[in-house]
Every structure is written in C-alpha cells, then in structure tokens.
Symmetry: C2
Subunit: 141 residues, 2 copies
DNA sequence: TTCAAACTTGACTATTTTAGTCGGGTTTAT
DNA sequence: ATAAACCCGACTAAAATAGTCAAGTTTGAA
C-alpha cells in the first residue's frame, strides 16, 4: 500500500503556500524551488486544486496562487479528493457494487476494506492544513 | 492509495483456509476455484506465508495447507508483512532517515505519514483472521 | 512400484500506473 | 511590448503489479 507522489506533493505544496501567502500570491516557481517538485508537475496539481476551489490563481506578472479558504477549513480529505488521490484501497472496491473478482457476490474481505477506508478517511478528515503548518513551525523547519 | 491484490488475495485465501481446514489440509486448487484466484499466483503467495510460519504445507496427494497458528492469533499485520505488503505509504518514507526529496532535511509532511502509518497499522493489528471468519459467517456467505 | 495430486522454485512478461516532460498557448503588471 | 506567470493537453520512460510458464520434488494410494 502506498500513497502516490501526487497527493504527497499536493500537501507539501499547500503547506508551503499556507506559510507564504500572507501578503502576495505565491508563484509555483517558488514552491518548486523550495520543495523540490517539478514545476510542470506542480502546474498539473494546481490546476486540479483550482478547479476544486481550494486555491485561487492570480494571473500575470507577480501572479501565483493563494488559498481560497482558511487553512483551518481545508482538510486533507479535500486535498486528496481534489487531486484524485483515491482512498479506494483495493481492486474489488472499484468493481460493481454487488460483486468482486468477477463473481456475482462480494468477496470474503469486502467489508474489511470498507472499514479500512473509513478508518483512513477519518484520519484525514481530522487533519487540516493549519494543523500541518503549526506542527511544522513548532519543529522549526 | 491502494493495497495490492497480493495482500488482498492473501487475506481472502487465509479466510478460506481458516474456514475449511478443520479436518484435512486445504489444497490451493480448491482455494483457487472458490476464490477465483490464479493457482500460480496463490503458490507464490503461500510460499511466502509458509516462510513466515503462518501456514504449514502438507506435501503429496491429499496435501495442501493448514494454519500454523490459531486464527485468533493471526493478525492482519502478520499477513501483510509476510507477503511484503508495505504500509510504508509514500516515497519519502523509503528514503534515508534524515532527508526527503533529495534534500538533507525531512519534508514538511514527513510526520504526517508517520502518523498515518501508525493509524493503519493499529487498524490491522486489531483484526485477526478469526474476526474475519466470524464476520463472514454472520453474513451467511 | 507407479502414478498423479499437490507442493516448490525461479524466471519471464504483458499491462497498468505513475511521475513526470514537452510544447504550445493566454493573461496582465510594469 | 515584454516577460513572468498561469493554463492546457498530449506524450512517454520507468516502475510496479499481476500474473504466466516451465521444470522440478514429495508422497498417499491403487
């Protein structure tokens, strides 16, 4: 099991943004340099974040991105959802509601994955961008 | 994020085994047919489960596999561990202890993934094979 | 004692996903 | 006007996954 880099980068970039967007919009170029994430890839990620209204863009010179909500109101679930990071953990969850593994009934472990997804979703729902920024400042990074 | 089929199959197969190993060893052929998992793939999986002493093999005709411990004592963490299903969720967790993303310091989200891993591990530690079998019998599958 | 069911092992491969790259735009402050 | 910055879609190399395949070994039963 693993998360993809897309979700991880999205969170990294938003923490960075939350720390620096006090006055001016933050350019992806700056985030790219500070966080070591490819600029082109960041653009893809921010395109999604913008469509889900997590950030706003400011075009033109001196432009960049700003948060569209308070950091406290942005939960990690919102972020992962925006960049299509699926919490759907296993193949059988993707298939039709009734069956798994090409069979007409649910597989013996189906309920387990339901529970697991809830468990993980709860974890991410309990974490806001603000929490991460605070945690980060405390550690003097 | 997703679990791989290997982990999922391992759990499915062991639930099946736990249900049927009362008297005789259970052949992989039977598990393959009941659960719809490729026999060759099951062999790879059970090879790992045997090495980690979760199951015992009985060779020869009428052979198969039996659980090596009571179902109650087999936690899901043991199973995932045996088949190399990693709870390591993100890239930065694979890298050197001190740095992420090729930098000499931990990335801003590093602690988050630590917490997440603990959260998931706790979930799997709290689930035994017996729990799954019971849950399954209740639902009359 | 021969046979076949079943386990054992290791190498190989097609498919899918990921993590980007690339090339061309458009917008707007200066 | 120009350059910084956003915007968009197509493309691709690498890695991981989910198997397949081939060639065994072991052993209960006929």
């Amino acid at each position: 099991m693993r998360l993809t880099s897309k979700g991880r980068y999205a969170v990294m970039a938003l923490v960075d943004l939350a720390k620096f967007d006090n006055i001016n919009p933050v350019s992806l170029r700056d985030i790219s340099l500070r966080q070591g994430i490819s600029l082109d890839y960041l653009e893809q990620i921010f395109s999604k974040l913008r469509k889900k209204e997590i950030v706003q863009s400011v075009r033109g010179i001196q432009g960049g991105y700003v948060l569209n909500k308070k950091a406290k109101e942005i939960k990690l679930t919102n972020i992962f959802d925006a960049v299509d990071e699926k919490i759907k953990t296993v193949q059988c969850k993707k298939e039709s509601k009734k069956g798994c593994n090409g069979k007409p009934i649910k597989c013996v472990t189906h309920n387990l994955w339901d529970e697991l997804e809830n468990h993980i979703t709860n974890f991410f729902d309990g974490k806001s961008l603000e929490d991460l920024v605070k945690d980060n400042n405390e550690r003097r990074f």
